[in-house]
């Protein structure tokens, strides 16, 4: 089972991101479970969403304690909650920012994980460029696909298309593709699929 | 009595006289054209609330319900379902294992008659039986107080339900307690005739007819068991309209009011004629018609016949609050235009 935890703020599409990831896995014939950590609806409040992917029925219902991958949609959360709690030693970290880990004052996180497992991507800028709205979730899924190779980019794009009809879907797919290529270009050749 | 016109001498004026009938309409109906006769006059009436029920002698509610439901049955060709709130009417008409109702009838709870009726109406729509109409009915307790939320919801949605409230101004079935329809100064078990302000206090109370009008629903009317024709006309008119409708009928309660059981009609009449109970109709938020008071009577004439107001006449002198009741009457008369201006024909 592969477990992903996504951190963000209300209004950034955190929950939809987790759902789309689960749909992408579904299209590959796998079992997937996506759910948010719940609170009252409030834009701007910290939000956590979870996605489990497995090849058999997923029975577990607890929040994800030891994620294989943490996605941080909003870097202002670093000072607010411990987004890295339980992150596995061989796990992945994907942060939405145009800064480096050093700029964010988190160099040790990048060093703790295996080489190439901790990356940043300017997902908000990509979303603004392709979709016209600062919602980074689709772009981050493209980056996730490139980073972990755990789902195919095709499945991600199919999931985005199902979530967003027509032109909006196409624009989000473009953002996801751009993020995918951005991360794929950085990955060492031997990690490629 | 007029003089025959032929005997008038030249120069003598003709005086217009108003003729109106007192007493039972069943006898008087012989003088009226057939299509103008009351439903009650007909042997073909549905008797939807038939005899054998356990109401008190002189119960105004039993009378009002019989009048209203028979009229509604005729207007709908007997395609009627009634939903009844808990209360006197429900209790005295269905003493297990008997029932006085000859139409489909459902009793659910005290406060939900309007909502249950909404559900019945929805079922009739979905079953494609638009000819079947729905009435919700209850006393003032079940309507103005505990039933108010569901009533307002039904009004707001404009559900196709006629809600009839039989207003005897208190929770009678449970032993005569005060409701928000109880008039000021009235004695009830929870507004006893004791202390500095015996009976119900001023400055409280709720007029559901006015609130119904404020909901802008298609039809609102008040009525009285003292005027059978008017009541039947209003129910019949209501059944010709689709959407939320409300009729409130003033029904004296001999037990709760402390009145003689033979005074029920008389009291209902006096309540109208002193101005305490305005009789009017409204459509979509505007008053369209009022029933004029033929001869205004002082409020004391009404109060004196009821022991629930007896403390206002203690020791042979009149409580000053009677004047405040009279002021309410005068305000109603003024607001609704219940008395013809002098000189009008």
């Amino acid at each position: 089972m592969f477990e992903v935890r996504i951190h963000g703020r209300g209004g950034q599409g955190v929950v939809t991101g987790a759902e789309m990831l689960s749909v992408a896995a579904f299209f590959e014939g796998r079992h997937a479970q996506a759910f948010p950590s719940f609170g009252s609806e409030r834009t701007g409040a910290p939000v956590v969403a979870f996605c489990r992917i497995a090849d058999r029925e997923i029975r577990l219902r607890e929040p994800i304690q030891e994620p294989d991958c943490v996605i941080v949609q909003d870097p202002t959360l670093f000072r607010v909650i411990d987004v890295f709690a339980g992150l596995r030693g061989d796990g992945y970290l994907l942060v939405n920012t145009n800064k480096t880990f050093a700029d964010l004052q988190l160099p040790e996180i990048a060093e703790r994980l295996p080489k190439g497992h901790a990356v940043t991507v300017h997902a908000t800028e990509l979303a603004l460029k392709h979709v016209g709205r600062p919602v980074p979730n689709a772009a981050l899924l493209g980056a996730f696909a490139a980073l972990t190779r755990f789902v195919h980019q095709d499945s991600v794009e199919h999931a985005i298309e199902q979530a967003f009809p027509g032109k909006v879907g196409a624009a989000n797919i473009a953002a996801a593709r751009a993020a995918f290529e951005f991360i794929a270009a950085q990955q060492p050749a031997e990690n490629a699929d | 009595m007029t003089q025959p016109i032929a005997t008038l001498a030249p120069g003598e004026a003709v005086q217009k006289l108003k003729y109106y009938q007192k007493g039972t309409f069943t006898v008087g109906n012989r003088l009226v054209a057939e299509q103008e006769r009351s439903v009650q006059a007909s042997q073909e009436r549905s008797n939807a609330l038939t005899c054998g029920h356990r109401a008190c002698q002189g119960c105004g509610e039993a009378l009002g319900a019989r009048y209203a439901i028979d009229a509604a049955m005729r207007a709908t060709n007997n395609n009627l379902i009634a939903v009844n709130a808990t209360g006197c009417l429900e209790v005295f008409t269905t003493p297990y294992p008997e029932t006085s109702w000859q139409l489909p009838w459902l009793h659910s709870l005290f406060g939900n008659a309007a909502a249950v009726a909404t559900g019945v109406a929805a079922a009739m729509r979905v079953k494609k039986r638009p000819e079947v109409r729905v009435i919700a009915q209850g006393g003032d307790g079940g309507t103005t107080d505990i039933g108010f939320q569901c009533l307002s919801g039904m009004f707001e949605r404009n559900d196709d339900v006629l809600y009839i409230c039989y207003d005897n101004e208190g929770y009678m079935n449970t032993g005569v307690q005060r409701s928000s329809a109880t008039p000021p100064t009235a004695r009830t078990a929870t507004t006893p005739a004791l202390g500095e302000e015996p009976g119900n206090v001023f400055g409280t109370g709720k007029s559901v007819p006015r609130i119904a009008v404020a909901h802008n629903i298609p039809y609102v009317a008040t009525a009285t068991v003292a005027d059978l024709h008017d009541l039947e006309r209003k129910v019949t008119k209501a059944m010709s309209i689709h959407g939320a409708r409300y009729i409130q009928i003033n029904v004296p309660c001999p037990l709760g009011w402390g009145s003689a059981s033979h005074d029920t009609i008389r009291l209902a009449q006096l309540a109208v004629e002193c101005g305490l109970y305005p009789i009017f109709e409204a459509e979509h938020g505007k008053v369209t018609q009022v029933r004029r008071i033929r001869r205004q009577v002082p409020v004391q004439d009404y109060l004196k016949l009821q022991r629930r107001f007896a403390h206002l006449f203690r020791g042979g002198h009149e409580d000053p609050r009677i004047a405040r009741l009279q002021a309410i009457c005068d305000a109603n008369i003024s607001e609704y235009g219940l008395v013809e201006p002098a000189g009008e024909a």
């Binding site: 479970q33 | 269905t94 659910s108 909404t118 019945v120």
Partner: protein
């Protein structure tokens, strides 16, 4: 057809396939997505011959359903927590009148203190009201139970509550097989009422019943729930025949054949418990689980049979009767009472107000049960420090303030020690 879908939407699709005729909707977290989904289906014309009514309160919602059902229409509504309590009078009324209404309960804690997260206190508050209560373990079962519920309700002339863990199931997106209309039509016949308001055959429904007959009426309701003990497994078998999967029934056993310790639980937590059991089995511990699906009627005999061979039974439940203990544990205890060698019963209350139930905590709990059994109710993951402080505080000061706020203040202080 397999879909990756939010639980509440899956349920909405299943309910729509059951051809409901009157749906009443009042919003309350966490069931709102279900009635919203149904509203969309009606407005789009995908759910035909259905009146969708926006009511002004939960009391009105169930009352509208009562009127619709009595007039011969298949009626549905959904609620949770506070909403269920607000309609409590109507809940008893619906079962007393014998109306086959189906209602989804998105299980949520009851306030005060106000809490929107999952536990079973709402279902427990109405366990005596004469409704059937069925608990779904997964969103697939949630879908399936609604279909079975309409058939059970109409066969018995008795309302049915389908209990679905709020948020954990309602808001989870997972793989669900949504049946076809043909399948559902093959399983669920049109509503044929036992009693109906009809001008062509007038009847009075809702009479007052005095001491001379009330006992008999209640006995007949109890008798009907006993009939349900047979019907529920039968309809579940029929379901398997039409839809091809096991779903519903009174209860099911997981790895209990040789178990010394058997856990008893309801709802979605059973999934987490199964994973925990598999891990403990790998360590050689003989442990199993009984998943109770039908809480009302309570499956006394089936449960007794399932637990007879155990040495210890641990009941894990998401509710507590304050002043007495876990309701499920109490009912399980009653079922075990007359066994010649009754297992030791351990009661654990967990997950109240939405607190996560983790494998780690369950591991500790189950191991403790065999080694160090406890008396009374054990609160899983209780913050004893916070509780101890509050008790101490209230002993020192008369005007110690509201408990909930005091506890929250303690937790906030612990999180921000510098302040």
């Amino acid at each position: 057809m397999l879909k990756q879908i939010e639980g509440s939407h899956a349920m909405a699709e299943a309910i729509a396939l059951c051809r409901p005729e009157v749906i009443c909707a009042y919003p309350i977290t966490p069931q709102t997505h279900i009635v919203e989904g149904l509203g969309e289906l009606v407005k789009e014309g995908r759910l035909e011959n259905c009146e969708y009514i926006n009511v002004e309160s939960e009391f009105a919602a169930l009352s509208v359903a009562i009127g619709a059902s009595a007039a011969g229409a298949r009626a549905y509504t959904a609620t949770a927590s506070q909403g269920l309590l607000f309609m409590a009078e109507a809940v008893y009324n619906a079962s007393g009148l014998g109306l086959p209404i189906v209602m989804t309960l998105g299980n949520r804690a009851i306030g005060a203190p106000i809490n929107i997260w999952n536990d079973h206190s709402d279902a427990m508050s109405m366990r005596d009201a004469g409704w059937l209560q069925l608990f779904a373990e997964t969103n697939q079962e949630a879908v399936d139970l609604h279909i079975q519920a309409f058939r059970l309700a109409e066969e018995l002339s008795m309302p049915v509550m389908v209990c679905v863990d709020g948020f954990i199931l309602t808001h989870a997106v997972e793989r669900v097989d949504i049946p076809t209309q043909a399948q559902v039509d093959g399983y669920l016949p049109p509503y044929d009422p036992v009693q109906v308001l009809d001008p062509s055959e007038p009847a009075s429904i809702g009479a007052m019943v005095g001491p001379e007959a009330f006992t008999e009426v209640r006995f007949l309701a109890h008798y009907k729930q006993n009939l349900a003990l047979k019907l529920i497994p039968e309809f579940s078998d029929d379901f398997k025949g039409v839809f091809g999967r096991d779903s519903g029934g009174l209860l099911r056993a997981y790895r209990t054949e040789d178990a010394d310790l058997v856990v008893v639980a309801m709802g979605s937590v059973c999934g987490t418990i199964k994973d925990t059991i598999d891990e403990m089995r790998d360590d050689g511990i003989r442990i199993g689980l009984v998943v109770i699906v039908a809480f009302r009627p309570f499956p006394v005999e089936a449960l007794r049979n399932a637990l007879a061979g155990a040495r210890d039974v641990v009941v894990v439940e998401k509710s507590i009767a304050v002043g007495m203990g876990g309701q499920l544990a109490d009912n399980v205890g009653a079922a075990l009472r007359n066994l010649p060698k009754a297992p030791r019963l351990h009661s654990c209350v967990a997950g109240l107000g939405g607190r996560a139930i983790t494998r780690a905590s369950l591991h500790r709990l189950f191991r403790q049960a065999s080694v160090q059994p406890w008396e009374g109710t054990h609160f899983l993951d209780l913050n004893e420090r916070v509780v101890g402080r509050e008790i101490h505080r209230t002993r020192k000061t008369r005007r110690s303030g509201p408990t909930a706020e005091n506890v929250l203040r303690q937790l906030a202080a612990a999180a921000n020690p510098a302040e």
